[in-house]
């Protein structure tokens, strides 16, 4: 059974133009999407990219309007010669004569065009690696470096700095600058999350364009004139929208730095793991930067179907709790009213399996967070079915913004529904469960990842249960009184998938090890399901996902491998 889509009608043929890049003829589309996705004449830079030739640039960004101010992408080029009769002039061998473009006032000097903003035309020849082009790049780099502070040893951007990279590839090794550098404000507190160093700024205006055109907050601008130009926020108005940290990503140098990440870790030490943000239902694709089991930062990963190449500040900074010292690290058991004691997984899983196997139908309820993964909710759904259990999740809402942040602050509400874990609208069964606990119809409550004591099932109520099984990652008042505490993982510590609000199933990978005895929930759930229902599954995440895809109608046809880096959409 194939997933979803009927065969689409073939798209209209794309009109192409023949040009040459570095002597090689290439066929490139006449029109290509601009920063807003509108089809506009293909630029020389896009054509070179298609031909596999890199044109270095600073101010250009595929998702921002073109500025054309850094001049780094200047390339030498040639155009077909046209005679006075407007017909092309041919060489002796019949090929079109190409004239290398020169300065009108000095034909001995080559004229460059900025590749990011100049459209291609039929027969154009782009000399992206000629000596003239290289000299133009070298000159721009020299200009950028004359006033640039020698901050590399203390600058966050080192290791991912375009100025460094292009200097190595296209620049000079010695400076001939013999004057005093221009000094500008350093360590400017631009806003609650950003520190600006105006000396490092190369005035590419990416941050200004991002803030104005993408985030919708015209908050940044340049003041003063000429060489004394400096970036600043609108006077008196802190740079404080929910997307400010994206400017740190797109800043080619270390001018805009994140207060959160400043001086924390050299980027070349960071392991980069493809993951997802779990702070809302949008599911922005991210990269987790970690070193030695500690997460240092989240940065966005490109996925045009979800988040472009951006993420919001709220989600980006929501990782510091992962290495809190009070993480639940121990498997614990409490007998009746006594104190809880540390124990082993083998021991509690045996006991829990026994209790569940012998539980009367309808005497178990499961409340699992919509922050759990598809696989975990699928396994819990199996348990619930076998046990005839009431199920629910805790809804989590907040104000949405106009860009990425969704009002649903759970990353996997859709997954909770599609896997069959939820039988009704999220949150609508909580009262039923609470009443059932009160009336002692429900004697066993399984809680995954929520402090239900704060959502209508207070401690006194919970104490009426015979068995309270809690899996969580941080201490809570529910875990405090639980009979069994099963320490689980932050999503950065396991692999799995989420289904976002639009129905896109996306996978995330493991970045760091969980602390102490904590285990991925799907791992021990798999054991429980086997013990209680007799249904065996797979002990690898790939196998488990593929099995889930076979059994859950909404995921029909998916495989773990086919999810790729950007996920697959399913009907919701």
């Amino acid at each position: 059974m194939s997933t979803v889509t009927e065969p689409k009608p073939a798209p209209p043929p794309v009109e192409k133009i023949k040009i040459k890049v570095d002597g090689r003829e290439v066929d490139v589309p006449k029109l290509m999407p601009d920063w807003q996705g509108k089809l506009v004449p293909t630029t020389m830079l896009q054509a070179c990219q298609l031909a596999g030739v890199e044109v270095p640039h600073y101010c250009y960004h595929p998702k921002l309007p073109v500025a054309g101010n850094c001049r780094m992408c200047l390339v030498e080029f040639g155009l077909p010669a046209i005679g006075p009769d407007r017909k092309p002039i041919l060489n002796e061998d019949g090929t079109p004569k190409i004239i290398r473009q020169a300065l009108p006032y000095d034909p001995s000097l080559p004229r460059g065009a900025i590749a990011c903003a100049t459209p291609i035309s039929p027969g154009m020849e782009i000399y992206a690696s000629s000596p003239a082009t290289k000299q133009m790049r070298e000159a721009v780099l020299e200009s950028l470096l004359i006033n640039h502070p020698l901050d590399c040893p203390i600058c966050d951007q080192a290791g991912e700095c375009k100025l460094q990279e292009y200097s190595v590839e296209y620049g000079q090794s010695e400076s001939r600058f013999a004057e005093e550098k221009v000094h500008k404000p350093k360590r400017v507190d631009l806003g609650p999350r950003i520190i600006l160093d105006d000396e490092r700024c190369i005035l590419c205006t990416r941050c200004i364009r991002f803030s104005k055109d993408i985030a919708g907050d015209d908050a940044l601008g340049i003041a003063s004139r000429g060489s004394h130009n400096f970036l600043t926020n609108y006077p008196g108005k802190a740079f404080d929208n929910n997307y400010t940290l994206n400017t740190v990503d797109i800043c080619p140098v270390g001018a805009l730095t994140s207060k959160d990440f400043r001086f924390q870790m050299r980027v070349w030490f960071l392991k980069e793991t493809k993951s997802l943000c779990a702070s809302c239902g949008t599911g922005c694709n991210i990269v987790i930067g970690s070193r030695e089991e500690k997460v240092y930062r989240y940065t966005p990963r490109e996925n045009d179907a979800v988040n472009g190449c951006w993420m919001c500040d709220y989600g980006r900074l929501n990782y510091r709790w992962i290495d809190r010292s009070d993480r639940l690290k121990e498997v614990r058991r409490r007998r009746s009213e006594g104190p809880s004691e540390r124990t082993t997984w083998a021991s509690v899983l045996k006991e829990i399996s026994e209790k569940l196997r012998t539980a009367a139908p309808g005497s178990v309820a499961i409340i699992a967070s919509a922050r759990q993964t598809n696989e975990e909710l699928y396994l819990l759904a199996k348990l619930a079915k076998r046990l005839g259990a009431l199920t629910d999740s805790i809804p989590r809402c907040g104000e949405a913004d106009k860009l990425l942040l969704h009002s649903d602050r759970n990353p996997n509400s859709t997954g909770a529904r599609l896997t069959g874990f939820l039988s009704a609208e999220i949150g609508s069964n909580l009262k039923k469960i609470a009443d059932a606990v009160q009336s002692r119809t429900v004697r066993t409550l399984i809680v995954f990842g929520e402090d239900v004591a704060r959502h209508g099932l207070g401690a006194p109520l919970l104490k009426r249960l015979d068995t309270l099984i809690v899996s969580d990652i941080l201490p809570s008042s529910t875990a405090e009184i639980a009979h069994y505490v099963l320490p689980g993982c932050a999503h950065a510590e396991k692999r799995g998938t989420f289904t976002n609000v639009k129905g896109r199933v996306q996978k995330f990978m493991k970045a760091v090890e969980p602390p102490g005895d904590a285990r991925p929930e799907w791992e021990f759930l798999h054991e429980l399901v086997l013990n209680v229902t007799g249904q065996n599954g797979f002990v690898s995440i790939e196998g488990l996902f593929n099995q889930m895809a076979k059994e859950v109608p909404a995921f029909a046809g998916l495989t773990w491998a086919a999810l790729g880096d950007t996920g697959v959409a399913v009907p919701i």
């Binding site: 073109v66 500025a67 054309g68 101010n69 850094c70 001049r71 780094m72 200047l74 300065l103 006032y105 000097l109 004229r111 460059g112 900025i114 903003a117 100049t118 459209p119 000596p131 290289k134 000299q135 133009m136 070298e138 000159a139 721009v140 020299e142 200009s143 950028l144 004359i146 006033n147 000079q172 010695e174 001939r176 600058f177 013999a178 004057e179 005093e180 221009v182 190369i202 005035l203 601008g221 340049i222 003063s224 004139r225 000429g226 060489s227 004394h228 130009n229």
Partner: protein, 481 residues
Amino acid sequence: MPQEYRLILKYADQPGYSHDLDCYLRHGGYEVLRKSLTLPPKVLSDGRNISAQEQIRDEVMKSGLRGRGGAGFSCGLKWSFVDRKSGKPIYLICNADESEPGTFKDKQIIYKDPHQLLEGMIISCFANDVHLAYLYIRGEFVEGAKILNRALAEARAKNFLGKNILGSGYDLEIYVHRGAGAYICGEETGLIESLEGKRAYPRIKPPYFPAVLGLYMCPTIVNNVETLCAVKHIVAMGGAEFAKLGTPNNTGTRIVSISGHVKKPGYYEVEVGKATLGELINDPAFGGGLRDGRKLKAVIPGGSSAKVFRAGEKFKLKRKAPDGQMTTVEVDLLDLPYDFDSVQQAGSMSGSGAIIVMDDTTDIAEALENITEFYAHESCGQCTPCREGSLWMAKALHRLAHGHGRKQDADYLLHIAKNIQGRTICAFGEACAWPVLSFVSKFKDEFESKGAAAETRHTLSASAGPTREMRIAASPQAGSP
């Protein structure tokens, strides 16, 4: 002996001539506007109808009028680039930002004969179907803005401006907008940005050609004050008559601003190309010659952005011989005809028509220091080569002029300047690079000796360390010839 030919400034300096409307009307003012608005459509033999507007545009094209702001681009050609099919309103902007150092001609028109500018502007607007126009005047012309606003009010009151001008059915409104002291607002797209209320960062071309995407992204014409005044005279006498003034391809008259070490600095209107550079400097009708006992050292022929000429320079100019063949003629600096093409062939430009004369008391390095300070101050800072390079050159020259130069500073400056020209968003790159390129290469001996003298002084002084020889040669390029 060449004399002034006062076409635009015919009445401006006459005793008793004032800038009010009544005086202008007494001198035949606004008759050409009346003529333009009542021009009947011409019917061609094939039945095609040529409107009044098209006829006026044709006359301007026939006249060979070239922009008087500095670029010398054909006005008729510029008007022909306007996108008349977009459905968007067409704007016209009068560039009264006169900021090119050495230029003070537009000021005369604005302060003494503002109605001539308005008449020329209204005719130009009519010819291009413009109904909303702006007069961008440099902020320093405080009184000038007041004079223009008064003139506009007078014109409105007499129905030369506003709705249904002179009963023709043509509406036009003109607003004065004052600048705030930036040279880059004289750049047409910088001006447009400023007019829109933004920082005057010039736009990249492609795609933002003003004729297509100008003010508020609508087709826009930007013309200089003197150019618009010339339009009035072209319509009055006809394009062909206007083309008889001046010299072939360099038609009409222009107002030359002469300053520097001459006895009679000032403004003089001449037929383009009919006077030579030497005549303009030395003739009693114009500059009146150098001060007593002084010799000519250098001349900047077209505002400080133009390349300098060294006294005694000779040029090889291409001329059409009487038999129609192209020949090369050697011409002495002082015999150079002052027009667009000859000065350009000689390796410079006549620019805004501002001639700056320097005699042998001039310290060339200090003169260049002064010029680069201006450009460093006025660079808008948008693009890398100009932003960094303009101040770099100014700092280097400051160092050189104040006794801390090095012999290699001449080549150092040439290197910086070569990396600016042709690499920038607007012509400011050329404007700040050409003075350095031309001064340093034509007076290299002076720059090198000044630097060398400073180095000697410093090595002789006890506190100086050895001079570190910087590697100046161009970096080796793979595969370069």
